[in-house]
């Protein structure tokens, strides 16, 4: 067996640990029970969306979680970044969790969105909507073209080819060709041509809503696609590509579709991120960003509707908040052996992440399913079970 196949096997196991990749609604149960629970289930996404949408009207403070009230610009900015990355992770999951393609170059399309928008606004002086639209089209075409090449390989080779493309992107940005990108200093966004409602700290809330809209869009698109006949083909590709071909479906076309779509979604996210942080910096081209995307998806639960979103938001939240945690007085007062490492945000992030892989196999999204079998038992207090017992030593 090839390594590539091994990699997909890994994906498979990861996915298999989750509830079946196909949402339960798909399997047409003999008599679909329509009680209030399922109604709530169906409407809960909208409910959550609504809660997030009205959040900026709340002046509540959540001490320890955010410093400052929920509607403070700092909190909103942080939340908006989390939302964008939630969406980004959900889009990446279309590749990784839903189709089983391990791309190490997804950051490229995000970066294309960030830099494309920035350059078109700042250097070419286009109005924002034109710049964003052009960038979206450009990023999608870029994903389509590079995907068409990269998809001639599979498995680890595919991962590495995408990584190579992204690396070229990173080099081009760092080299600052034509003075377009600003190299490692980045390029700050020229806001003079932007609508006033998107500029200034007082208007962070508008950016927040934009980010929320982006997340909602991505989740909706990914969910619709995953639930569509094409989505089923993607799920099939994840398991056995050869089989899909023998059934009469062209694996290449479907994979390219997923790749391009995910690329386009990432580009759109890049445009929003560019507005949010008011510019572009080479951090977004780094291969670490792709790796973090992978981390987000696995943290949340690949192939699930909410897992990647949760993972993305949590990751970015930690990434931003840990810097504050590291410098907090609580950490400073610890003995040197502890306070040293703990004041390094990356140390905490890395550690949290490792622990998450161990303790939430299948991701955050699997938490509820993993608890489900416990519930009746807890209720009747019959006897303790070990739903996730490790295999015996030899196995």
């Amino acid at each position: 067996m090839t390594k590539g196949a091994e990699m997909t096997t890994g994906v498979k196991t990861a996915a298999a640990a989750n509830p079946p990749a196909v949402p339960p609604t798909a399997s047409s149960a003999p008599a679909p029970r329509r009680n209030w629970r399922s109604a709530l289930r169906a409407w809960s996404p909208l409910l959550v969306l609504l809660v997030f949408a009205v959040l900026p009207y709340s002046t509540v403070s959540v001490p320890g979680v955010f410093d400052g009230p929920l509607n403070g610009p700092g909190t909103l900015q942080l939340l908006a970044i989390c939302l964008v990355f939630g969406g980004l992770a959900a889009g990446y999951d279309l590749l990784f969790g839903r189709t089983g393609m391990l791309s190490f170059g997804h950051a490229l399309y995000f970066a294309a969105g960030v830099y494309g928008t920035d350059i078109l606004v700042t250097k070419a002086g286009l109005p924002l909507w034109q710049a964003a639209l052009l960038t979206l089209v450009g990023g999608t075409i870029l994903a389509g073209l590079l995907g068409a090449i990269a998809l001639r390989t599979a498995g680890i080779a595919f991962a590495m080819v995408t990584l190579a493309f992204a690396q070229v992107g990173a080099i081009l940005v760092a080299r600052d060709f034509g003075g377009l990108t600003g190299g490692e200093e980045g390029l700050s966004l020229d806001v003079s041509g932007l609508p006033a409602m998107l500029v200034g700290v007082g208007n962070t809330v508008n950016l927040y809503w934009l980010a929320l809209a982006y997340l909602a869009l991505v989740v909706f698109v990914v969910h619709r696609v995953a639930g569509s006949p094409t989505g089923r083909v993607l799920a099939g590709l994840r398991d056995d590509e050869r089989r899909i071909g023998v059934l009469g479906l062209d694996p290449y076309r479907f994979k390219l579709l997923a790749f391009t779509l995910a690329g386009g979604l990432a580009t759109a996210g890049g445009s929003i991120y560019c507005l949010l942080v008011g510019g572009a910096s080479p951090h977004v081209t780094s291969s670490e960003l792709t790796l973090s995307l992978l981390v987000m998806v696995v943290l949340g639960g690949p192939g699930t509707r909410w897992g990647p979103v949760l993972g993305g938001m949590l990751y970015m939240y930690l990434d931003h908040r840990l810097t504050a945690f590291g410098t907090s007085s609580a950490v400073d007062s610890l003995p040197g052996v502890l306070s040293g490492p703990l004041s390094q945000p990356l140390f905490v992030l890395g550690t949290v992440f490792i622990l998450a892989v161990y303790f939430f196999p299948g991701g955050l999204a699997s938490l509820s399913t993993r608890l489900t079998p416990l519930r009746p038992l807890l209720r009747s207090l019959l006897r303790p079970t070990h739903p996730t017992r490790r295999p015996p030593a030899g196995g």
């Binding site: 403070g72 610009p73 600052d176 190299g183 200093e185 942080v277 504050a324």
Partner: protein, 374 residues
Amino acid sequence: SPQDTANGGGDSAAPVKVGLVYSQSGALASYGKQYIEGFRAGLAYATDGTNKIGDRTVEVTEVDDAGDPAKAVSAAKDLIGKGHKILAGSTASGVALQVAPIAAQNKVLFISGPAATDGATGVNKYTFRSGRQSYQDVLTAKSFIGDAAGKKVVVFAQDSAFGKSNEAAVKAVIGGAGATVSSVLAPASATDFTPFASQLTAAKPDLLFVAWAGTTAPAMWQTLDQQGVLSSTTVVTGLDIRASWPTFGAAGTKISFLSHFFDGAADNPAAQAAKKAVPGGVLDLFHPDGFAAAQMIVRAVREGGDDVDKMVTALEGWSFDGIKGKMTVRAEDHALLQPMFQARLSGTGDAMKAESPKVLTPDETAPPAVAMRG
């Protein structure tokens, strides 16, 4: 708007909120550490140890940006949202360039720190700087060749914004003075420097200007030394923080350094006060930046109260005595004119010492004024 921005108000007894966004972690953490030490010393110095401006205490909030502009922007928005009218920090150039527009959009004072990019000078009315800029480095380097006319100068730089801005500055400064300037650029990620060393040897320059930052610098110097570049021409480069000196190895004593600052480069009341105040009692490269930032903030608040426009006016054209000596905020573009130093290293290992054969006056190293862009 649903967002109800908290406001500091004009209460004369309310504390002065100052937000410092700089690198506490990440690659530039040690620069950040010097900056904050310098800042604390400077604040104490400028307020005579009270940390109060008039009746108002100075409340400093520190935020780590880990060198990432995105984090810095978030932090800046957060601080501004919480009513901070004064921001300072920016260890990395990228951070300075992206926080500066935020400051202008929200009309708060921003004093950029160790970030050396020329781009932060004249970027907008609300942005100042408390450190030196690349152009001043290059003017210092120029002092090593005396009359530039007819000389051959080669720039060896990282192929990055930092390297290119140095290259451009050399072309403008030394080339402008009549020297022919050519350059060899190498990728910042380069591992082996032999090809570049060969190119440099082949070019036979009268002066070699090296602009290299990052962890590969020791390998680069060793290769230049081994291939005989250092002994064949005058080589000039910027002197980094003290901890890096031993990594020059044998090359260290063969290089002519331009220096922003090193311990002992200047002796004045501010430097003495700073030396006493910083942990360890030894000043280093970026202590002056933090120190000057504090001095500028105290001045701004004293003269401007809570009115940012008044603060700006108070700073423009202001001269003061910092650790490095006399500094002046140039009114046109907010460049900080300051003395610069030539330096030489002697000794080996941890016992390496620097001395300054020549000090350049603020005027000698004054970059050309640029028009204010925003």
